[in-house]
């Protein structure tokens, strides 16, 4: 028996892990384009630095583990691309690089590597950066102000609508500006129209399932409309919250990370719902203005539990299905006899 003999089945699906991850990379590119449009070359340079740091630390870890590096495994590239989009365009390079290295080394590889991580590396990297250097991560330059591509930026920074919401006030931006993303905010998250396009692209490519985002967005929208944080009406509150916060981006790219998302439909719905509940609680009672990453880290803990419970439920269902089928056919033959 040869070592490399192919095993049944001998026809395989055309998609591979590379194409699945490439779909996510492709979906992130429009966001980088928007960031470049608003903030110039620095946005792209930050992205490049983050990806380079992620890839190099990933390579180092794989070699330390004694395995052969595999260039087609681009999961670290995805993590590296997601990280800077959540931070301000004026973030210093060392913040982005250390968040990237932290995410790859201490969150992905220490827990087992690809597909084994207990926590979402990108969310953990952002949480690390937000906890260590909150002033650098949360002060944003104005759009179209072209921050310098290299070096530190020290002036022209201010807080965005997210800060106003956090304080309980109403942001003063124009609605059209908010919807088009022309306000002070994280580099890649501001334009929700582009985000919606990315979501539909990923859904139709089959790269992400619909259950978790549907549950998450459903509950978030309902909560925003019915229990607003600020003294505004439901739909207006929804507009402010969804454009200023990072939970739309998170619900598309970070919630559905394959390693941490539960595998069964029922547990995915519960997981999305729990993430929404935690995000809302963190928004009310938390100490940071952008809270989705922290809420996601907390929900990641419950992913396996939900899977375990849904497996128990499915075991019951399978046996019930078998029992009813046997009973039905017995009943039918008894009727005929």
């Amino acid at each position: 028996m040869l070592q490399n003999e192919p095993k049944a089945p001998y026809v395989r699906n055309r998609d591979s892990a590379f194409t699945v991850m490439m779909d996510v990379v492709v979906a992130l590119l429009p966001l980088y384009f928007m960031a470049f449009y608003f903030y110039g070359l620095r946005a792209l340079m930050l992205g490049l630095a983050s990806v380079a740091a992620a890839v190099i630390s990933d390579l180092a870890c794989v070699l330390l583990e004694g395995k052969r590096p595999y260039p087609r495994d681009i999961s670290s590239v995805v993590t590296g691309m997601i990280l800077p989009l959540m931070m301000s365009a004026a973030t210093p390079y060392y913040v982005v690089v250390s968040a990237s290295v932290f995410a790859i080394v201490l969150v992905k590889h220490v827990f087992g590597g690809v597909g084994q991580s207990a926590f979402n590396p990108a969310a953990a990297g952002f949480a690390f950066a937000a906890a260590c250097w909150p002033s650098q991560v949360f002060s944003y330059p104005a759009p179209f102000s072209s921050p310098a591509p290299f070096g530190a930026i020290t002036e022209g920074l201010a807080s965005g609508p997210a800060w106003s919401l956090f304080q309980g006030g109403v942001p003063t931006n124009d609605i059209l500006d908010l919807l088009l993303g022309k306000f002070l905010g994280p580099m890649g998250l501001t334009n929700i129209l582009v985000l919606a396009t990315c979501l539909f692209y990923l859904l139709f490519r089959g790269a992400i399932g619909w259950q978790a985002p549907a549950a998450f967005f459903g509950i978030m929208v309902v909560a925003m409309m019915l229990f607003p944080r600020i003294p505004e009406s439901g739909p207006m509150s929804l507009v402010y919250e969804s454009t200023a916060g990072m939970w739309i981006f998170g619900g598309i790219f970070m919630l559905n990370e394959p390693g941490t998302l539960p595998k069964r439909s029922s547990s995915r719905i519960a997981y999305g719902a729990l993430a929404a509940i935690f995000t809302i609680l963190f928004q009310r009672f938390g100490r940071v203005e952008q809270t989705f990453a922290f809420a996601l880290l907390l929900t990641n803990v419950f992913g396996f539990t939900f899977d375990r419970y849904s497996e128990r439920l499915l075991r019951r269902l399978r046996r019930v299905y078998l029992a009813t089928r046997t009973k039905l056919s017995e009943k039918k033959s008894a009727q005929r006899a």
Partner: protein, 354 residues
């Protein structure tokens, strides 16, 4: 329409051109037309049910659907008072059409064979079951309305279909499914007193020049079959059985093709060797026809924690290979599960032996 399966995968059938080509024979001259001795008349109408079963026993017919002797199957069906007898021509794996093709080209024999089997069982309803996936556009063959007067029920839906079809006919009463090739042999046993010495196989695959269905003498080797059909290129590997559930033939010069072979495929070695690790996407759990969670089963097999596997119902796996098909990391999940089940059995036997 008998069944519509929603869980599973849609496969490209690749049955053309083998399906529409006429069934040809490829016999070993020494064993063609072997007959058995019997005093019974050569006419199906004059025989009783038990006599038909007797003839099936003398002809040593094996049902290609599950490898059971046909006479045993008919005897058991008779005792259990089966109410529906179905001729099984469900070929749900790509390339394989070794049941559909004889059904379409030997309609008289199969129809009469099914009626004989029905007589042997009692007085049941009879159907033929064919898998025709409507979403599959390259099946140029048109299915007739009935085969020799017997109604055809079409199975729609996703692979795997053959395993799950029983449930849909069950609603009419207890069912037995008999492969159509054994029905052809039953016809020949009754009308010609012929022993089953041939089987029906599809010879197909990317490397075969003229894919076709053949009736071959049992014991022919794949090399002979490829010489008959012509090889366009050197095959990467030879598969006996379906493309989803078959096995690799290590010795195509000497392997004897038999009733359970169903197909002999010469495939190119196209799958590039990838070293992905499981990314935890969960697609395997979405497509499993038995609604299991192959992700966790595979994870625990990799970690060698065999005690957790019973919780995930590993013994309900039907071995269809759907999880391996869809896995983007190209992990051989079905293979791992098969080995783990064998390992579990070995451990249990060891424990009982102590």
């Amino acid at each position: 329409m008998a069944g519509n399966f929603t869980r599973g995968i849609i496969l490209e059938q690749r049955k053309e051109p083998a399906l529409r080509r006429k069934l040809r024979t490829f016999l070993n001259a020494n064993y063609a037309g072997m007959l058995f001795d019997s005093d019974l008349p050569y006419d199906g109408a004059a025989l009783s049910g038990e006599q038909i079963i007797e003839l099936a026993k003398l002809a040593r017919i094996v049902d290609e659907r599950d490898g059971v002797f046909l006479h045993e199957k008919l005897e058991k069906a008779r005792q259990m008072k089966i109410e529906v007898v179905v001729g099984d021509a469900i070929d749900d794996e790509p390339y394989v059409s070794s049941q559909m093709n004889p059904l379409l080209f030997m309609q008289k024999e199969t129809g009469e064979g099914l009626r004989l089997a029905a007589k042997a069982v009692g007085n049941p309803k009879i159907y033929f079951a064919i898998y025709k996936n409507l979403s599959d556009m390259d099946l140029k063959t048109k299915l007739p309305k009935d085969i020799d007067g017997v109604e055809i029920r079409r199975i729609h839906g996703r692979y795997p279909a053959e395993f799950r079809t029983m449930d849909d006919f069950d609603s009419d009463g207890p069912t037995v499914m008999i492969g159509v090739c054994s029905l052809i042999h039953l016809y020949r046993a009754v009308y010609e007193h012929r022993i089953q010495s041939t089987c029906f196989v599809t010879v197909a695959g990317g490397c075969v020049a003229n894919p076709m269905n053949l009736e071959v003498s049992i014991g022919m080797t794949p090399t002979h079959l490829f010489e008959r059909c012509g090889l366009a290129e050197d095959p990467g590997y030879v598969v006996i059985g379906g493309s989803m559930t078959g096995e690799i033939c290590e010795d195509p010069d000497n392997y004897p093709v038999g009733t359970m072979s169903r197909a002999v495929l010469a495939l190119r070695d196209e799958e590039k060797k990838r070293r992905y690790r499981c990314i935890g996407c969960g697609r395997c759990a979405e497509v499993c026809p038995e609604n299991l969670t192959p992700f966790y089963i595979n994870r625990y097999i990799e970690l060698e924690k065999y005690q957790e596997l019973a919780f995930y119902d590993i013994h309900r796996c039907i071995g269809c290979g759907t999880c391996s098909y869809i896995c983007p990391a190209k992990i051989d999940i079905a293979e791992n599960i098969k080995l783990a089940v064998a390992e579990l059995r070995r451990r249990r036997r060891q424990k009982e032996g102590d």
